[in-house]
Symmetry: C2
Subunit: 243 residues, 2 copies
């Protein structure tokens, strides 16, 4: 997330018009599935990597976390977070995911929502999160699904009339940079395989608790394009424990 598209005024404006920005957690198709994986927050020290508007920080605070540190590289997003999701236990700090450091064993929960596909080296993230967490600490994150990031374009494959034929997968085992189009703007993301995410956690000693590909909830299936999300996996939710 050192490349910070979210401080580009045009991109920021467009992002602000998305349901997930206006409606918060309820506007995110994966929220029901993610909430089910949320750990107990009461009395916990929480870090949110790529906190954005701070919706999840507020959620942790509402559930009586002892402390919540939300970091993000976008000053614009942190401004909104400070205005709308502040609280006595919440601190927001401008920092890249790659640059944050906290003392070893000082956290109970590390959380991240849809931010790690902006990080080049996920191995470093896993190593650090392992050090930061206490034994029994939780690591919960959502990312774009490796199938969704493989090709790069993140677009459906369509016929001459624009009708969706299928979703294309290519270059799956070639990890690294992808130039994706998000809200009409070019964004750099990093593709990695499912093996890198899951086996990377397992071989570092994490215990996987849950692995979920969320489907759009019933209440959202009549929104434009939402039914098509049953045709491809777009996100991956992973809950792990340092054990």
């Amino acid at each position: 997330m050192r490349e910070n598209k979210y401080d580009d005024p045009v991109f920021f404006e467009k992002y602000g018009q998305m349901d997930r920005s206006k409606l918060g957690l309820a506007g995110a198709g994966e929220w029901e599935a993610l909430r089910e994986l949320m750990p107990e927050f009461q009395g916990k020290r929480v870090l949110d990597l790529g906190c954005g508007y701070g919706w999840h920080c507020a959620y942790a605070a509402e559930h009586r976390a002892a402390s919540v540190l939300g970091i993000d590289l976008s000053e614009r997003m942190l401004e909104v977070a400070r205005q709308q999701h502040s609280g006595p236990v919440i601190e927001y700090r401008r920092c890249a995911i790659e640059d944050i450091d906290v003392p070893d064993g000082s956290l109970d929960v590390v959380f991240s929502s849809l931010a790690f596909h902006y990080v080049q080296d996920f191995g470093v993230v896993m190593d650090r999160v392992w050090r930061w967490l206490v034994l029994g600490g939780r690591f919960l994150f959502s990312v774009e699904h490796p199938i969704f990031t493989a090709c790069g374009s993140q677009d459906w494959y369509r016929d001459g009339e624009g009708k969706i034929l299928h979703f294309p997968v290519d270059h799956y085992f070639e990890e690294g940079e992808r130039k994706a189009n998000f809200l009409g703007e070019n964004v750099v993301k990093y593709h990695r395989t499912l093996t890198t995410y899951l086996d990377g956690l397992l071989t570092r000693g994490f215990r996987l608790l849950r692995v979920v590909e969320p489907q759009p909830p019933e209440r959202m299936r009549d929104l434009p394009g939402m039914r098509d999300e049953l045709r491809r996996p777009m996100m991956l939710l992973v809950s792990a424990e340092k054990s």
Copy 2:
């Protein structure tokens, strides 16, 4: 595997011509990755679900398993297994994966190679394997990757000249029957999501040890079509423990 294509003489003949049939384990692109996940066999009671020619049964016996039961629905395959991979601790039995039953807590290792995508209800398999295994017992299997089984055709998407454009994904969250083409013959397989495989194990209490999408090994990359296998994930290897 109640539908038993492997006793169709034409299909059986064609299958017999594949490298993995003629060369055994070394002819299978995933063997290096799978071997790395193999548990300790010495003194263990092993069940192989869909054992085919018995290559893996022989491997377990060579590594001093106490007993190895290989089951398969194809009488033709079991004939070859009995001729080529017999041994004092190995027993082969004709039986569908859905129909085999063994006493609770009577197994140390349950293994399966590329057979579960022929089974309609994987939930039942997981429930039973849990019961059959001792505490600390291992469940190791390979399956066709959910991305590979989603669309059904299992074919690359090509341009007018037959050049591969990408691999198509569709109907991902619609689990169930797919009519696939394998060796020029129609075969019924069952598609299920990654969530069903992995979260199904986790929510039943299995501990995931490894999750690996094997890539073709260097030694095979010059074989026809093998380099294309870096463009899509075709298989999934899962190692789990009853703990």
